[in-house]
Symmetry: D2
């Protein structure tokens, strides 16, 4: 699709995620072997603000009309960092225009939109166009190392997974109303925003399929101050799920995962905790200490068994040989750097990176089942079956 020239990259959106992706685009080529690319254009609705952001974050240009940008022949990659309700329209248009697409999670806010995106990605794939959804935590080295241990069988048959994602930025009842707290714009609350990360990890770490879902949702602060007075919060503050899991990694006697997420858990700032218990070993991780992985080897002599705190900063660990000497910890932002590295390599090789849109749709189907379960009193619900196009790293 291009001959000899660097890939042209456009990022749509310049808020939190646009800033994080920009930092990754800026940094990736210093530390990893990737195909040549140019940071061509940053796109946003407010001309002045996006121009300032483009300058700060190192984009050659800025623009306000994403349709014009994806029509440009010098743009090869479209990286979508806008809110979820806009994902489907932009991603489908970009794929149809033959652009490689990286879209932030969630894939979209509705199952229908997500299905349309999957169809567009499948069609584009036939034409050599690559697509990926941004579950960036897959590229946290400690979690990549965790996956390796599980896939190498070091945990034996997986039995129980405990996942939680706790934050507290909505703990204060006076925290202002926003688009993230309205069902129409956000789809859901903590469920879609952060349970989605936990669910993707559970599937990615273990390879297990989610056979059924039970859930409970709760909104602790039902009204929040808006510009003209109190407004109703129409999404969940917190969610509790259990997932029935099936697959080879479970033996297959089946496994169970619990997922608890909250944006009002006072004192927890960005704590995605994952514990995995198998018949031969166990793992524990906390995103607030993302350079660490705890691993218990159940085959050690019993008097020497214990969770090892592995500082995942050795050259032997995933992604780490590109960075600093051992013990020099990296930050949250580099999950994005690694994601873009893997995306670019896939674009270059013409392979499908993981997580695919199909994998993103799979997460949406589980979230949808959770909402249906919660609405009906918590009884287990089977998620809609989805096409699978998992190309494992």
């Amino acid at each position: 699709m291009r001959a000899g020239r660097p890939l042209g990259v456009a990022v749509i959106g310049y808020a939190f995620m646009g800033k994080a992706h920009s930092q990754a685009w800026r940094t990736v080529a210093s530390h990893f072997e990737v195909p040549d690319f140019e940071r061509t254009v940053l796109v946003g609705r407010d001309a002045e603000q996006v121009a300032g952001a483009a300058q700060r974050y190192g984009w050659a240009e800025s623009a306000t009309d994403w349709r014009e940008v994806i029509a440009r022949p010098d743009i090869d990659v479209v990286d979508i960092c806008t809110p979820g309700w806009t994902h489907a329209e932009i991603a489908i248009a970009a794929l149809e225009a033959g652009k490689h697409v990286l879209v932030e999670k969630p894939l979209s806010n509705t199952l229908q939109e997500s299905e349309a995106m999957v169809a567009a990605a499948a069609a584009a794939r036939q034409r050599g166009v690559v697509s990926m959804i941004g579950f960036n935590y897959r590229r946290v080295p400690a979690l990549a190392q965790a996956r390796k241990l599980i896939r190498d069988g070091r945990l034996g048959n997986i039995r129980q997974i405990r996942a939680s994602y706790l934050q507290d930025w909505l703990s204060d009842p006076e925290a202002a109303m926003s688009w993230r707290l309205r069902k129409e714009t956000a789809g859901s609350g903590a469920l879609g925003d952060i349970a989605s990360h936990a669910i993707d990890q559970i599937r990615h770490l273990t390879g297990l399929d989610v056979a059924d879902v039970s859930a409970r949702l709760k909104t602790f602060v039902p009204e929040r101050p808006g510009p003209g007075g109190p407004e109703a919060v129409t999404v969940d503050d917190a969610a509790w799920l259990t997932l029935g899991l099936r697959g080879e990694a479970a033996g297959d006697g089946g496994a169970i995962a619990s997922v608890e997420v909250s944006r009002v858990a006072l004192g927890r700032k960005n704590s995605l905790r994952i514990e995995v218990y198998g018949s031969a070993g166990a793992l524990a991780f906390d995103l607030e200490r993302l350079n660490e992985l705890e691993f218990l080897d159940g085959t050690d002599p019993v008097e020497e068994q214990g969770f090892r705190r592995i500082l995942v900063t050795e050259p032997e660990h995933p992604y780490l040989s590109a960075w600093w000497p051992q013990g020099h910890v990296i930050g949250w932002e580099h999950s994005f750097t690694h994601q873009i590295r893997d995306f670019l390599v896939a674009v270059d090789e013409g392979t499908q990176p993981s997580p695919s849109f199909e994998e993103g749709l799979g997460v949406q189907a589980i979230l949808d089942a959770a909402e249906r379960s919660a609405a009906s009193g918590g009884a287990v619900v089977v998620p809609a079956s989805v096409p699978t196009k998992q190309q494992e790293a």
Copy 2:
């Protein structure tokens, strides 16, 4: 009921719990002001073994017939440490004989038996006879301190409670079949054995009522070796509950608790973890580090907020002035010492100690609701209403 002579004490059962209680009976008077008592008799089925145990643990006599023992006029207190299926018969007989009764948890294996025990306790109470169920973790100083902080309003309105109790002694599929793994003898598995502790704590710490229960149960190892070959395990290895909570401590917008328990969580030995999140503060506790309590004060300036690791060994902390200087940690066994101290004081004062049989029945009703929810696919179930006789410490 007695004049001038020390209380005569009988303990029924000399296995794990009988040993733990014996250590507490042996120790309590060295460290606490309690009414005079004598360690009169230890009761068990095997005459030789119980005689040996009585000698080791410091009981004046041993006996094999609990009925004879509770008939003795020199016995004032009966402490029941036998398996759950025997509790009702012994406790009711002892109460009817006018003996003060301390019974290990669970109150019994069935709701019906528990209800009969409550009736017997209520009748005995009219005659000045005291009864108590042994949820010993209420007397872990760090948890008693946690309760104080909650009751003092330091957490604001309670929103979320995360409780888990993880062990691994059944992780090995070759661990032998036993009475604890049969529904007829044990009632349930991890649910009754350890979720009961977590549920009692949730209620005790917060004072909230359980309005509804959703649950999932799982047996990971369906067969285990018995003397004559493989036998079916008929209880759960692990259980997941969510509890809808109501009450003043929640505001009352309601609160939600999650409870996850397992006896196959490899690497966790006796890890009862409890996290409580409120609108103004948060707490965390782990029984494997039972001298510690983590407390976050949400009213601290934001740049100084953090979970404080309080070493609960100061004279100002509950029960601790009786022990060693600050920093000299105590062991699990002294939850029993403190329990017997509080029980003896109540006997002396003729007051009802907490937890009462009614409180024990309340836990049983929640476990029963959990079993019914799990059997019906996880939808929420309302626990049977139970008489309440909570006399708070």
Copy 3:
């Protein structure tokens, strides 16, 4: 020395250490196989108070004259829990009277007294009389397990040891003057009181000899309130030592230990921390979490290396099979229970328990060298050579 009757035991002193030893004497026979003994008499200066203590702690009698007690033919064991300045007189008299002696650390307050005690112990040993000094932390299971790992070569050649013992009970300048703060009665401050524990551990864990000592001492609060006004504190609040170590466990390229102790380290309550670094592994321990041992096995693959948090509560761990099921933590007090168990077994077998008086003298010689080094500006000093009579467990 006795025929068929239980050993008669006398404890001298009923304050903090007398209470801790009494709890151990009370408990040991319930959990360990030990020769028969009777808790005969508790000795103290105040007749009324010692009588109360004897009753509380379970001693058959009380007495006020230790000389009379050690003269009694029904006393076989004398356990000395009085302040350090009284140790020599009592211990020597008891040994000469043919009594087995357990003496609390420090052996005494001066090198001369300690040497006399060693001579008495050596003479008594010839007559089958056993003696021991109470460095109780040797009997903390996690430290006993640490020693086993080191002795099994799991750390390779020992290189560095970092030991600290931090408390804060003297942090407040208004904390009252006491005998512990006067050189005449206490010998030294944090140095003798708590550095002695650290030094004993360093030697015990590794078997290395202390070749030289460099030290610095500091008194942060030079005056404290006494009954009649401010009084001068004449001992150290804190001490810093480095020890040059020699021996087979070091290779013998020599090893270095640092020791830092304080009674004014605000927020540390009873934190004896020990880290041992070798060529093949490493260990870390903290007395505030005394059921845990951290162990790093340097022969693990580098991407799986990490400090393992071993919960030292398995039946396979030292002393633990006598106690509770795995994960049920024990308290500080049972270091004394284990000490008395080992002492009684040695009395029964007629063997020399460790630590011997010679070992206690060795610690005193190192403390003496530290004081001399500090007095002369910190240059290294060689400790006086001492007889060695280490009989390893």
Copy 4:
């Protein structure tokens, strides 16, 4: 010195430190308000390699002759990332050429060279030329927050500081000989390399002066494989220091700091741990968890006191408002980003940034005193007095 054009920046050196500084230069303007600058040229000895590095790290040009580069009129800033033995020559030349200079620590390998650099910096300062030494850990947000707490008096009078910096990259005796292990090229071993960081922090956090120094040095692996066979290691593997401290922050009863550093502490990767104990509070920090600060407020009620784990990621924390939302941790590299931000602001404002060359010389004088103390058996040595030009942030 320039009119209207961006500052031209040259970095000398493209190895570990050159890479880290380059990442900071690349990133700083995206996140902080800084004067305009251009990443003009990267300088190294090997033309091909430095050209590759310049391209990867985003420098417009590369060059091999640092003298030519500092002579260029378009270069305003020289950032020196070469080994210590080259610092003096380059820095002095650059300052004399009127360039602002940032030099990596150590200032140089000898006191004499460092004194010449200080003289050059002082002279240049008269001409408005700015200079700074790169003790980057001052810009770790958690340590900057620690300093704020100390300077605000939250710890009361400082008494004890425990600092250690433990690494293990030389633990393996087969790790190869290098310039860092020869006295001629490295000056010293762990002492200059990492104790320097600890010493700078002690002074920076507290503002206390080092009155005297006692030290011990040790080389555990005396020979290492070189290209032609074993070669002698002529620097220390580990060092132990105590520092007598004086100043207002101590009350001024004086304070004591201990410093222990090692490059053979197996299992510790990059663990700069600092604990500060005062009369009213205490702090603890570990560089392996650099987003966290532990703080104990001694004025809290005793039953609620404990070390708080503050996750230093709030907008209210130093440097953090520029980064991500709370809880999204940053990496080691951004200590350099913040350093360059502060350096650039000082250049723009014409103020002297801290740490100055004088402060760097102060550290060198303490290291020199440590070497002299160690050589003479450990007795305390008074460091050479040095000019002070501390301009506090």
